[in-house]
């Protein structure tokens, strides 16, 4: 499962569900109500240390997979060695971590914890559950680009996140196939459709596409929206400061309708892994997805043959905006009183801290300037450049928007759009209104 998949939803895929779940849900709301302190006690683990000048820091990590877990271990080890402050890490399976974040933050959270940029960070910041870290950013601000800084900011203009790594979304393709057929990287939308037509006449599926799981299509929506209406409109729309029922949104779907004939017509029955296979087998020309795609190619001959280009420009801002979800660390409200925790976050914001992480987990791209790039493959380097040249970084629809909007509204809406090219923006607005009002 991809990071996005994990980000978007809970554990069901892992088979943790059974029929009893249904019965439980009758009372789920009630359990959330009555058992809030109880649940958070389960998620937390060790009690957080508090008070200034503490020599221990607790760190809640949702990075439970083997590689990232070890990578964060390397970071905490390096920090302990450097500062003499002991870090207690509580690793929680990532789906649980994300699903229980509400109760976690209200109960006894760790001083620092893994999270990501976007709406949900800003949301908890607005609710006063996070500690601002402007002082940390004074130390590490120079290590980050403006786009990363913008993404780490809460809606109150204060800083909350220290970015660790990110991974860009863009078009991936096989160099050898393109060289053989003489295709060239499209820079404009028209070039993209022309290229797609050519690929179609060559018997290829021009744009690989999979949306059985619902979330991958959001990437196409985001890019079309940002290229047509700009980065700020994407942010305002996902925060529901803009209405869905307006020509700007309709135009996104109109443009998408031009692309639909070139996207894999069987997308609704396919997972991104199926699509990755098609691209690897040279059955399709290109694939718009996050860079986690490359993890699918275990054959080095194939993985070395993969290249990347950013989404072509359309009406606005050229190719300035890039979709590159950022993962990093936040400080809980309690953790804000622990100066050691601030030091820990500051450490992660240095090239030294990020190198310690990247030495173990090389699938992602370190965000701090000056981080060691010598081990980068040419593809990684290209993606890193694309991110550092970007003027604004979006976080993907499910991180920028209210999760319920992404999960409950956009997935069915986009799937039905893919099916027959119809979308009811009035209904999208009606649903958005109701869901955002509940927050």
């Amino acid at each position: 499962m991809s990071k996005h998949d994990d980000a978007l939803r809970g554990g069901p895929v892992d088979g943790g569900w059974n029929r009893r779940t249904l019965l439980k849900t009758f009372g789920a709301g009630a359990v959330a109500l009555a058992g809030a302190p109880l649940l958070s006690a389960c998620t937390g683990g060790a009690a957080p240390s508090s008070g200034g000048g503490s020599t221990t820091v607790s760190f809640g990590s949702g990075s439970s997979d083997e590689v990232p877990k070890n990578a964060y271990k390397a970071v905490t080890d390096a920090f302990e060695k450097k500062s003499g402050i002991a870090v207690t890490t509580n690793v929680v399976p990532h789906n649980d971590f994300q699903n229980k974040i509400n109760t976690y933050l209200q109960g006894s959270p760790d001083d620092s914890f893994t999270w990501f940029a976007g709406y949900r960070m800003q949301y908890y910041a607005d609710k006063g559950l996070l500690a601002p870290i402007d002082d940390v950013w004074e130390k590490i601000g120079g290590n980050y680009s403006d786009a990363l800084k913008k993404a780490s900011m809460g809606s109150d203009g204060k800083m909350y996140l220290v970015p660790n790594y990110n991974y860009p979304w863009g078009f991936f393709y096989r160099k050898s196939l393109w060289a053989e057929k003489g295709y060239e990287v499209p820079v404009t939308f028209d070039e993209l459709t022309t290229l797609s037509k050519k690929m179609q006449s060559d018997g290829l599926i021009p744009i690989e596409f999979a949306d059985k799981d619902g979330w991958p299509a959001m990437g196409t929506f985001d890019y079309l929206n940002m290229r047509l209406n700009g980065y700020q409109f994407h942010m305002d729309l996902t925060a529901h400061k803009e209405s869905w029922d307006q020509p700007k949104v309709t135009s996104v779907f109109d443009s998408w309708r031009e692309l639909l004939p070139f996207q894999n017509p069987n997308a609704l029955g396919m997972t991104w892994q199926d699509s990755a296979k098609n691209l690897g087998d040279k059955k399709s020309g290109m694939y718009l997805l996050g860079s986690f795609l490359t993890q699918q190619y275990t054959d080095k001959a194939v993985s070395d043959d993969i290249d990347f280009f950013p989404f072509p420009e359309m009406a606005m801002e050229g190719q300035d905006a890039i979709e590159a979800p950022i993962d990093g660390l936040l400080l809980s409200k309690k953790g804000g009183e622990n100066s050691g925790a601030r030091d820990f976050l500051a450490f992660l914001g240095t090239p030294e801290g990020q190198d310690a992480y990247a030495a173990v987990d090389s699938a992602n791209i370190a965000t701090a300037k000056g981080a060691d790039t010598s081990a980068f493959t040419p593809l990684n380097k290209k993606m890193a450049d694309a991110i550092s040249n970007a003027k604004s970084i979006s976080q993907f629809f499910d991180r920028d928007a209210l999760p319920a909007m992404a999960n409950n509204v956009m997935i069915p809406a986009l799937q039905s759009f893919i099916k027959d090219g119809n979308v009811d923006v009035k209904n999208l607005e009606a649903q958005a209104k109701s869901l955002y009002a509940a927050q």
Partner: protein
């Protein structure tokens, strides 16, 4: 159960004869034990079933972000209005639940009955067949997902391979085509449900007094007549259970669509919508609770039917 109800009726009768007589016979210790035995299950029932249900109902009339209690705002019927008017997956979900019920009732349940009858004839290896048909009921959700993926996968699946269309553009997209995937899911549901029904009917068939069959054959009834006129009516208690199980299974149908695509794109079911709205990050507590209440109200119909039948029968005896 029978013994208990027997005592009850006897007790009731004696109570009629000598009012308050029964009460006097209980010592203080008896009262304590009785209170304990009634109290504990009641408490468990209250904490695990009734309180959550009532809170869920209450929450369905509110908007809440799940953070602090002071954020709960009354919303009146807004959540229900939202579900009925603005929530596109809801009505398809209701239709699919009805389709599910019809399919289980007309195809899966009779299939289970047929299997039970076949296996009830003393054929060789009947235990093995029983185990095979019952296995799906015991499998975990993840395994079911894997198994049906192997069958239905568009490019590599067994089904398209047998049809000779695997890997070609004509291949049927069993999971992705929203006109077809509900039927694919129903076949998978039948695969589970039939095994379940089979086991219940096997037990039922074993419980039918063999002298009934003998009497029927002496009267000159053929096998079909014997079954439908004599054996099937004799299994009335099992039949009622099967009806209720079929209805409840179709209402709580969830796992199979969830492993396919989490209940979207043609596979919407009310239960899947409840999960989507109550669990995880897409949590909208008000709407999710309202959906749960709707499902509860629908479920109450067969449950009430079952209970009234069950208690009605006890009274008769």
């Amino acid at each position: 159960m029978n013994a208990a109800s027997g005592t009850k009726t006897r007790g009731a009768r004696s109570a009629q004869r000598a009012p308050r007589g029964r009460v006097r016979r209980l010592s203080g210790r008896d009262k304590w034990v009785l209170g304990f035995m009634v109290g504990v299950p009641t408490l468990i029932q209250l904490v695990l079933v009734w309180i959550p249900t009532l809170l869920s109902m209450a929450l369905s009339f509110t908007r809440w972000n799940g953070l602090s209690l002071s954020d709960i705002k009354p919303a009146g019927l807004d959540n229900y209005r939202f579900i009925a008017n603005d929530y596109p997956p809801f009505w398809p979900a209701v239709q699919h639940n009805v389709l599910w019920l019809v399919f289980l009732a007309l195809i899966a349940t009779p299939l289970g009955l047929l299997l039970a009858i076949l296996l009830d004839q003393n054929i060789r290896g009947t235990k093995i067949y029983q185990s095979i048909f019952f296995t799906p009921v015991m499998l975990s959700l993840a395994l079911i997902g894997v198994i049906w993926q192997l069958f239905y996968n568009r490019d590599n699946g067994l089904l398209n391979f047998l049809l000779g269309t695997a890997g070609t553009p004509q291949a049927t997209d069993w999971f992705g085509d929203s006109n077809i995937n509900i039927w694919a899911a129903l076949v998978a549901a039948t695969w589970r449900h039939a095994g379940y029904v089979m086991i219940l009917y096997l037990a039922g068939l074993k419980g039918v007094d063999p002298t009934l069959r003998e009497a029927a054959s002496i009267d000159g009834a053929n096998a079909v007549q014997t079954f439908f006129r004599v054996v099937f009516p004799a299994m009335r208690p099992v039949n009622i259970i099967i009806i209720v199980i079929t209805v409840i299974e179709s209402l709580r149908a969830f796992d199979i669509v969830y492993v396919i695509n989490r209940g979207t794109n043609g596979l919407e079911l009310i239960s899947a919508l409840v999960i989507q709205n109550l669990v995880g990050e897409g949590q909208v507590i008000g709407v999710g609770s309202a959906l749960a209440v709707i499902l509860l109200v629908i479920s109450l119909v067969p449950i009430t039917f079952y209970l009234s039948r069950a208690f009605g029968k006890e009274k008769e005896s």
